[in-house]
Symmetry: C2
């Protein structure tokens, strides 16, 4: 009911109402083309996927996207200092300026076999869905707009970006919004992964590697000396009892830990990796402060226990910081996306996630991340699959969304 | 004063009083021989050291000791099922039956370079002191007793034993006392390492590897699930606050810990390695019970925190158990060892340690571990050295001690 009411509000802005647009002859042509070229879009997806793009090593795949952007007639095709490949399709005016992006990088290390295999409608390869599907749909949008001879009122820039995954830490987006396209972007859509979800809540995260160090010694001979693993244990016990709100959802996790060299030695070091997340900037910052305080308290308690003999200290290394943000449910960009789903009879759902849209959301720039259609299993695993059944619907959705937003 | 008073008590037993024995002509001959053959003893030490004997792989060095035992005329030279090399030098009667042992194994893994280098009086190689020195002194005792034509009242068995170090867990001694020489041994001397220390307190230890397991999941998506690293942290925090007596010295240490695969995943497993020690059987058992209870409490607290969602469990693997024991200060074997030092004007000291003597001490069999003379640095490191300066004094001490005890 709530969403329906909001759609009525959106309905007032007829110009970008997908329900109206979908009956425009040029848009009809575009949607037909999106479906017609799907076999080619899938071939492109396979082709892109077979160019490995490990974290921090997206250059080869980026070069191919640069070539394709140029071949498809985008203007000012360029690679920014982060490695993002950017190409522009001018509209009747510069603004609104819509950026449509898909990420180049995968989670898979160098040397991973990226050969795509097929069984019926199912493709299998690491990264085939996330985000080779997004990249191929990005290319399909450009082709379809040309085939349907559509000139949009606003301008569209297409971006194949770096550093979306893990320790990539959204560095592509950070550079795009703070440097290469700073101040130019009015709306942002990331096409990421498969299915038909719409992400309007960008879960922020802070990631730390905490190292605990002390002199170390013999477990019996030096007993009575502070122990870095014991200090870490005290810290973890306190972390485990932190209280966090469930709305906005806020989470904490010690994901990895290690330390020590021998069962019979007081270790000289221990370390842990900590993940803190929230869709609320305030909740994330509050959790961050309390997390850091618990680590210090744990260390202090261990040192006091042994009267500071063999004193342990802790140091924090920030290994990831993804800004939190939200695009309100009643914002035009979200309402347009929901309208597109309705016009194409797509069952979508609104989601929270950490994706490229976090960066614009945090800056207050209207942004969403949408799935590129089809269906995946085993995302982020070497067994990743992509089912092409009816995947053309994802291409259609992306095309209609871009047409509706580029005005 | 205390020790001096005890020495007077020991003085009553003239037959094995080192101060008297040292003036016996045959003993004088033996002591002179011990000094004379020292260059040969040092050569033997180098020779033995250059046959690698990693943990659980003592066979090659054992075979050489078997050959040397046979060559030196020991009787019933044999290898028991643990790999201990045993040879006997009969006395005028079977009892008292003294066992003199040195251990074959080192702490160094296969592939370690065991070539001995020399600079002045200093030899350098992994294991050169611990326990190649003990093994070469063992062989010297046999030679010297023969050269001095000494027949002891009791019988002496010489043992080159396995599994003294680390996870070897005293398995050589456990087999010797429970199987291959079960019920036969009246007194025990281990010649281990360098210097002139006398160990009469056998520090017992229990070593565990504790594994914490749960289903694991995504750090954000699955938040609200128990976390094995968090459970381990809770356990370690409690372990770090355990209270232990300082006399008998009782210690605890988490020496190694690890777990998890990714910063953004709730881990499915974590593990820690725990070392518990005491010279008192009761104190060790009490600590063991409290340690196990704290682990269970830590796990329970983590599970309760999340209402048992993604329940974590812990399992204990006992990876080492060294029995605790003591040979009283006023026992004849300790008093004899102190008397030997005094007769040879050696500055000794009484120590606590974990060594082969733990096993007989725990069984109530008189046992001590003594250094084999000379001086070491970097024991248990690849930079181990042995200074041969005046090391003949260690051979003399071992010879006089064996003569005094084999009666």
């Amino acid at each position: 009911m709530f969403v329906q009411a909001l759609l009525l509000v959106a309905g007032l802005c007829r110009a970008q109402d997908p329900a109206v647009l979908v009956h425009d002859p040029a848009v009809e042509t575009a949607l037909a083309a999106a479906k017609n070229i799907e076999p080619q879009t899938i071939e492109q997806q396979v082709h892109i996927c077979e160019i490995a793009a490990p974290p921090f090593h997206e250059t080869a795949r980026g070069q191919e996207l640069r070539r394709l952007f140029t071949q498809l007639g985008l203007q000012e095709v360029r690679v920014d200092k982060a490695g993002n490949v950017i190409g522009t399709r001018p509209g009747r005016s510069l603004h609104p300026h819509l950026v449509v992006a898909a990420h180049l990088d995968t989670v898979f290390p160098e040397g991973t076999d990226v050969k795509v295999t097929r069984e019926g409608t199912v493709l299998k390869a690491p990264g085939i869905g996330d985000d080779c599907r997004g990249l191929s749909v990005l290319l399909a949008i450009i082709q379809v707009l040309d085939q349907a001879k559509i000139t949009t009122p606003g301008t569209i820039s297409f971006v194949a970006d770096v550093g979306e995954e893990g320790l990539g830490d959204l560095r592509g987006m950070k550079t795009l919004f703070s440097d290469s396209m700073k101040g130019e972007i009015d709306k942002f859509v990331s096409i990421d992964g498969t299915g038909y979800g719409i992400v309007n809540v960008g879960v922020g995260s802070l990631r730390y590697r905490v190292t605990f160090t002390g002199p170390g010694g013999h477990s019996y001979g030096s007993f009575g000396m502070a122990n870095p693993i014991h200090a870490m244990g005290r810290a973890i016990a306190k972390i485990a009892d932190l209280e966090v709100p469930s709305d906005p959802k806020t989470t904490f996790n010690v994901g990895r830990a290690g330390g020590g060299t021998s069962i019979n030695a007081i270790p000289s070091d221990a370390w842990m990796e900590m993940d803190l997340r929230s869709s609320s900037v305030q909740a994330l910052n509050s959790l961050d402060r309390r997390f850091q305080a618990t680590v210090r308290t744990g260390v202090d308690e261990e040192n006091r226990r042994w009267n500071n003999r063999g004193k342990v200290s802790a140091s924090f290394e920030l290994v990831g910081a993804r800004p939190a943000g939200q695009t309100p449910l009643n914002s035009p960009i979200v309402l347009t996306a929901l309208g597109v789903s309705r016009a194409l009879e797509i069952e979508d759902d609104l989601r929270e996630s950490s994706s490229d849209s976090n960066v614009p959301m945090n800056l207050g720039i209207p942004a969403i991340t949408v799935g590129a259609g089809g269906k995946s299993t085993g995302t982020h695993s070497p067994q990743e699959t992509f089912d092409t059944k009816d995947s053309w619907l994802g291409t259609q959705r992306a095309v209609l969304l871009v047409i509706a937003l580029a005005r």
